[in-house]
Symmetry: C2
């Protein structure tokens, strides 16, 4: 398969996918759900091959858990598809309607982005979620999943694509890339791919960002912070920190750095250390921290994304010092303040320049499902287009439609006509 | 001056610029307007130096017109500033408010993008418009204008920056780059510049897009089309085409290619040719076109952005052939159909994949002022973030603020707590 040729075909059909009525797109989703359900055993059989291969390769059990596609996971994705069907149509919405002059009306209408490339980790449920989000939003998609679930992906993709076309979504609207070298071919398609969404390791996402002219949405780092203010309630702080660090260490929204107000350090740090050690978390701290609790010493600028049971601790004098540290060393993903002081919280949440700024809750809430978006295609730390967890809204753009009756700009430039700008919405 | 050092300072103050109240930002704008007015003579004196230099260099009169900054141009920018003060605050708006669970509330709040680099053509009024749009939206900006207006830019920037700081906008929030090599330094600041907006020639914008990792908003090409349908009213078609081609040939929204329905070609083309020749427009056509009217022959795939009194003409059989041609050879900027048939128009406007799709009016309407946005920082042909003319709305992003009382994800994962997703807006 030549990726470029296939993506050019996709680009040509994208306007027709964009023009499908929401009733067709919902019927497509229903058909996909039905087909997956009717082929459950065949899917599980393919998944078994992937699990056996993982076993042969000695894949760690935490990862095997993500590869598995069983009744429960199928149930979840079917529920997700049903939810998606129930969501309002994200495209065709009028977000501006303005009479520029008599008989000259401007409408701004939401529409799909077009051709989206998504490269994601080895999780079969992700393939279903991403493809159905793209269909609901009228987009075309090139999907490349992790090789560890190649067999499961292959059957899922085939069932999804065949159902979609049978129910009225255009041919060539979805494509599965299976080979790693096809990623590089995809990166070169800047004339026919409108957006790339890479998910995966920091190094992988950076590779994508550095090797394509296609706009990229996503995040490389996830260095999330929790700042424990002098007005923090330790009864809230400790469970939040334990959850943010240990509930799922490999997640981008897990906490990596704790900033603790110097005033409360002597009383708070020993309690914190005890709670973290109980969960097997290794603490690294600046020299000052190691004078209060036992911890491996790190330098003042030595803050990393561990994605492991390790956390860095540093002391600060004020909320402003915490803000400066986070804006300088953070990755603008999700950062939290623990405080009972509303004014301090507001200052932190205003001045920290991150997609998510939290008060008194775990950074692990940064997720499309937990925000009520139904699903997400990824989390963006970019400042443009979409920020934070990205659901359907992040997969649409808009176009301006201007309806006239022969109007020309020369008349307005010469003052023979005047705009009156009357909003109709 | 070291651009990188200056931009790092800007990045550090950006959250504080973002936190300024709209009353401060409006006072800053008012102060800028007042200062420009009070220093009109000094500004005109500097502009005279630029005009004299242009004269010495034999700059064409069309360009000199853009360099000129006189009473009329000052009046226009002052009026623009007043309009900007009157516009609602684009930041701090709540665009989503959702109770995820009891005592766990998610708000999505619009906020500035942060640090924006704008590189623009030699037009002093552009410097004022861009800087004031950035201030109204709480952004920081690096501004690099065309060298032909260096003297005018220098005094305008100094007056704007001094007024802004005097009225409460942070120091280091605005920076003027004056040397061409500073553009390359700016392009390398991908860790501290959030968005670049280049304006200028196709080659220049492509150079920017190809030489930076910073997201770029703008357009390189502007190959706009007008399709004259078989149901077109020639009384509308001809003045629209003449306006779209000749009202301002150097603009990105000027028409470059005409697609004419084969059915009406024999009767329409001679009238069109006569009208265009009267305005000095040179016609280039496919072989078939040259068999009907006198025109220079071009190949079937030979369609360019002329930015001059030249237009290409090609015949098509159907609206769908026109759509396919535009989607393949166009630049997704602004494309128009001339037809009295509403259904045909809707098909065209649905399927043409461009930022602006028009019926029966000139492509030259694609402009922030004419859309009623007050001003524009540029026109985007990208599919993400902002599309078409970009005003204040294109200069903002959003952040998610989550307020909790100690909630942790572990409780939801284990089923001890459930989300209830209640929208509060």
């Amino acid at each position: 398969m030549n990726i470029r040729d296939e993506v050019r075909k996709m680009k040509a059909v994208a306007p027709y996918a964009a023009a499908t009525d929401v009733s067709v797109r919902n019927a497509v989703l229903a058909k996909i759900g039905e087909t997956l359900k009717n082929n459950a055993e065949a899917i599980f059989a393919e998944n078994k091959k992937d699990l056996e291969a993982a076993d042969r390769n000695g894949t760690p059990s935490a990862i095997v858990k993500r590869l598995k596609f069983n009744e429960a996971k199928l149930g979840d994705v079917l529920k997700g598809i049903d939810q998606l069907i129930g969501l309002p149509d994200p495209i065709g919405r009028k977000t501006l309607s303005r009479e520029l002059d008599e008989g000259l009306t401007l409408n701004r209408i939401t529409c799909p982005i077009g051709v989206i490339g998504v490269i994601f980790e080895a999780r079969p449920d992700a393939l279903v979620q991403i493809s159905t989000l793209c269909i609901k939003s009228g987009n075309c998609a090139v999907l490349k999943g992790g090789k560890e679930t190649a067999n499961t992906n292959r059957i899922l993709f085939r069932l999804i694509y065949e159902s979609a076309v049978a129910a009225g979504y255009p041919e060539h609207s979805l494509l599965q890339a299976e080979l790693h070298n096809e990623i590089d071919e995809l990166l070169a398609c800047d004339d026919c791919v409108d957006l790339l969404i890479p998910r995966g390791s920091n190094a992988f996402v950076r590779y994508i960002m550095d090797n394509t002219k296609i706009p990229v949405m996503g995040h490389a780092d996830g260095i999330c912070h929790i700042y424990v203010d002098r007005d923090a309630d330790p009864e809230k702080a400790i469970p939040i920190i334990v959850d943010a660090k240990t509930q799922y260490t490999a997640a981008c929204n897990a906490v990596e750095t704790l900033l603790v107000n110097r005033e409360i350090a002597a009383s708070f740090l020993p309690k914190l250390a005890e709670a973290l050690r109980k969960e097997g978390v290794q603490i690294r701290g600046t020299a000052e921290v190691t004078s209060i609790i036992e911890a491996e010493t790190i330098e003042e600028s030595d803050f990393w994304e561990y994605l492991d049971l390790i956390v860095s601790v540093k002391l600060v004098d004020t909320v402003d010092e915490a803000i400066r540290h986070i804006n300088r060393f953070g990755s603008h993903h999700t950062d939290c303040i623990i405080t009972e002081n509303g004014e301090t919280a507001e200052r932190f949440m205003q001045l920290v320049d991150s997609a998510g700024v939290y008060q008194n809750c775990s950074t692990r809430f940064a997720d499309g499902f937990r925000y009520g978006f139904g699903a997400e295609v990824g989390i963006s730390t970019s400042k443009i287009h979409a920020r934070g967890p990205v659901g359907l809204e992040g997969l649409v753009t808009y176009k301006y439609k201007l309806y006239g009756h022969g109007q020309i700009v020369g008349d307005y430039a010469a003052g023979r006509s005047q705009f009156h700008f009357r909003d109709l919405l």
